[in-house]
């Protein structure tokens, strides 16, 4: 605990900290228990994935990008495949797109339930943490039925998918979804009714709509601040226009809103999976592949944490000339600073967790940025302290 001027102490949170699953260093400056400033320093987890991707073929990169993040692995391969297919002008059959949607939504449900458990653990409610992870087991069974794996699905490939959904599988998945839906509704009721959860999460880590716009937040973090944006609506990359779903928006802008947005989104995802399995079109699973020509394009998808972008530049070889990815955590991480300022030290882990940081995806991007443009340091210096709060 180092001394600074004005009786401001700095308390380190991380890089190894019980509340954070992954490595990030937060230097939190406190006056008493009140946070007056925060320094965010990611970059402990550089793996050089983009460089690796420029040495492997398009097909083998699918397996590589699946390993960028263990939780949203379906989102990464979907975004990468969409980018490659747009770049190489491959027309993917509709059945494959539906199967991708099922997989992506199951992935989202599992990710949100996992995050909810962690969020409850951080405020000390281990019972709800265990319950939400028990519900998550059911959705993992669904994923296992769909893909044969629980973490890295290996189903998406360039031009389509590698596994089909048979009618028996569909029936089993629908059965399991009923259980998940019941469980998720129970969790929503528990959060709505429990006074202590409300006391810990309401008006904590507030990120106003203006600030969320200024920091260009994406995904559930932005939607919890009242910004209605969803890549599934804006750019229905895998036939999302066929499904009827709601973009969940909350306007209280605090940690409670982030909890509610994610739980409600899990219910919407269940709706999408049901529709996709019910209306699964007939047809092939794979498209005819084309020969690479020099071109460039991006693929976007709504990962569980927000908008995920892949940029592909192709040449005449079967190896991409440049791959660049921008993960949602990279965008959302700076906005933890205005959330932290003005709140209590006891709420720091909970606020950091509330954006669902996935630092293993993020850190690769930071390192690339430092090498090319040094954007990281500029971004933090530009951050203006939050107004209208007394501290």
């Amino acid at each position: 605990m180092g001394m600074c001027s004005r009786k401001v102490y700095s308390v380190p949170v991380g890089p190894y900290h019980p509340a954070l699953e992954e490595m990030a260093f937060y230097k939190v400056y406190v006056e008493g228990e009140r946070i007056v400033d925060a320094l965010i320093k990611p970059g402990f987890n550089h793996r050089g994935i983009e460089k690796l991707a420029m040495k492997r073929s398009y097909r083998r990169n699918v397996q590589l990008f699946e390993r960028v993040c263990g939780i949203c692995s379906a989102a990464h391969t979907t975004a990468y495949c969409v980018a490659v297919e747009r770049c190489l002008k491959i027309d993917v059959p509709k059945r494959a797109q539906y199967i991708r949607a099922v997989q992506a939504e199951a992935n989202r449900i599992h990710s949100h339930l996992l995050w909810f458990g962690v969020a409850m653990h951080v405020i000390g409610f281990d019972t709800l943490f265990m319950h939400s992870w028990a519900i998550r087991e059911d959705i993992l069974d669904v994923v296992e039925t769909l893909t044969g794996n629980r973490v890295n699905y290996s189903v998406n490939t360039i031009g389509g998918v590698r596994r089909d959904i048979t009618p028996e599988m569909g029936k089993y998945i629908l059965e399991k979804l009923n259980k998940v839906e019941k469980g998720t509704k129970y969790l929503i009721r528990a959060v709505k009714e429990d006074l202590t959860i409300k006391a810990r999460t309401k008006e904590v880590g507030v990120l106003t709509k203006e600030e969320a716009r200024k920091y260009c937040d994406v995904g559930p973090t932005a939607r919890a601040s009242g910004i209605e944006e969803d890549v599934r609506r804006a750019d229905p990359h895998i036939n999302y226009e066929d499904f009827d779903f709601e973009v969940c928006v909350e306007d209280t802008c605090d940690v409670y809103a982030r909890i509610m947005v994610r739980l409600r989104e899990a219910l919407e995802s269940i709706k999408i999976v049901r529709q996709a399995i019910k209306n699964l079109p007939k047809g092939p699973l794979m498209a005819e592949l084309t020969v690479p020509r020099p071109n460039e394009d991006i693929g976007r998808t709504e990962a569980p944490r927000g908008e995920l972008i892949y940029y592909i530049k192709s040449n005449y070889t079967n190896v991409p000339e440049r791959v660049k990815l921008r993960t949602p955590t990279f965008v959302n991480l700076p906005s933890t600073k205005p959330m932290l300022i003005g709140d209590k030290l006891a709420d720091a882990p909970q606020i950091i967790v509330s954006i669902d940081p996935c630092l293993s995806c993020n850190d690769r991007v930071i390192i690339i940025d430092v090498r090319t443009g040094k954007e990281k340091t500029m971004l933090l210096d530009e951050i203006i302290r939050r107004k209208g709060k007394v501290w």
Binding site: M1, V11, P12, H17, P18, A19, E33, M120, H121, V122, I123, G124, F125, D126, T127, L128, M130, H131, A134, D194, T196, I197, A199, R200, K344, L345, A346, D347, A348, P349, Q350
Partner: protein
């Protein structure tokens, strides 16, 4: 001579160290088992606490270089000794405790307060930021829970008109348990005792996701094992005090039956504390004051005033 020998046996074996550690370990196991079953897990085997303690006692102890050694080593020992001594003042096999005298209630309650100060000492002398933050949280929690704790006991003392533990129990044996005669004081006591045990929603001093393990962060090996023993003793003494002051009924002529009944009562209160722990998330430090002062203190005072005015006694 025989009396002194009995006292030494009492301090070391029954109901002192050996019994306290063994039964406290069972209480911790009950807590962990209920917790696991309510969370859809299986839970540890019954000997888990003893296994943990044995393992910790066999490990290397590391004392941080910038820690204050006397306080760092002394804190867990002070805590254990005061809790084991407190067990001597609690009647187990009859209404008479092993070491009873006039005014022993005050001594008993003081002995229960010592562990809190020992934990504050541990946190400060370990000289780590987490320890210091944990100690300061423990200190602010102390201010909030001691008042409802003492007021609910004061209600009992006025109700029974005595300062001796023996009298309190024998009066309950004839007139019915205090849990019925002073129900609001009982609820206040349970809330305050939950904070004394540092269980959810009051486990703020060692909130693992905020300040690692708080005052215990720097402890390892034998000293950490001592704190594990301390935890077992805390469960036992606080549940025993609840059983003594609020459910000192019935007392039969058979000492073995009385002792068994006492253990059942203690387990019952331990289960109440465990269930409160399981169904609650953790409060922030400044939020902890409303259940303790705005709920527990007020209802304890209501019962106190009611009994002073002689309504429904």
């Amino acid at each position: 001579m025989v009396a002194q020998l009995l006292l030494i046996i009492g301090l070391l074996v029954y109901p002192g160290f050996v019994f306290s550690i063994l039964y406290g370990g069972i209480l911790i196991w009950i807590y962990r088992k209920i917790r696991a079953r309510m969370q859809g897990r299986r839970g540890p085997p019954w000997y888990q606490t003893y296994a943990d303690i044995m393992k910790l006692l066999s490990k290397e102890t590391i004392i941080p270089r910038n820690a204050w050694r006397v306080g760092f080593i002394g804190a867990p020992i002070i805590s254990i000794v005061s809790l084991a001594t407190a067990m001597l003042l609690i009647p187990i096999w009859s209404s008479k405790p092993l070491l009873g005298f006039v005014g022993d209630t005050i001594v008993l309650l003081y002995l229960l307060t010592v562990p809190t100060f020992a934990i504050i000492l541990a946190g400060i002398s370990s000289n780590s930021p987490y320890g210091i933050v944990g100690a300061s949280r423990e200190a602010s929690l102390l201010v909030w829970y001691e008042l409802p704790f003492w007021f609910s006991i004061a209600t009992i003392l006025i109700l029974t008109g005595t300062l001796s533990v023996e009298k309190i129990v024998s009066i309950q044996a004839t007139l019915g348990p205090n849990i019925i005669r002073a129900p609001l004081a009982f609820i206040a006591f349970i809330i305050a005792a939950q904070a004394k045990l540092a269980k959810r929603p009051f486990d703020i001093p060692h909130a693992e996701t905020e300040i690692v393990a708080g005052p215990y962060t720097e402890y390892s090996g034998v000293l950490r094992g001592f704190f594990e023993i301390n935890e077992a003793l805390k469960w036992l003494t606080i549940s025993s005090v609840t059983a003594t002051f609020f459910l000192g009924w019935p007392i039969t002529g058979n000492p073995v039956f009385n002792a068994l009944l006492f253990m059942v009562k203690v387990a019952l209160f331990a289960i109440i504390f465990a269930v409160i722990d399981i169904i609650n998330p953790r409060f922030r430090i400044e939020q902890a004051h409303w259940p303790l002062w705005k709920v527990a203190l007020i209802i304890a005072l209501i019962d106190l005033v009611r009994i002073l005015a002689g309504i429904g006694v």
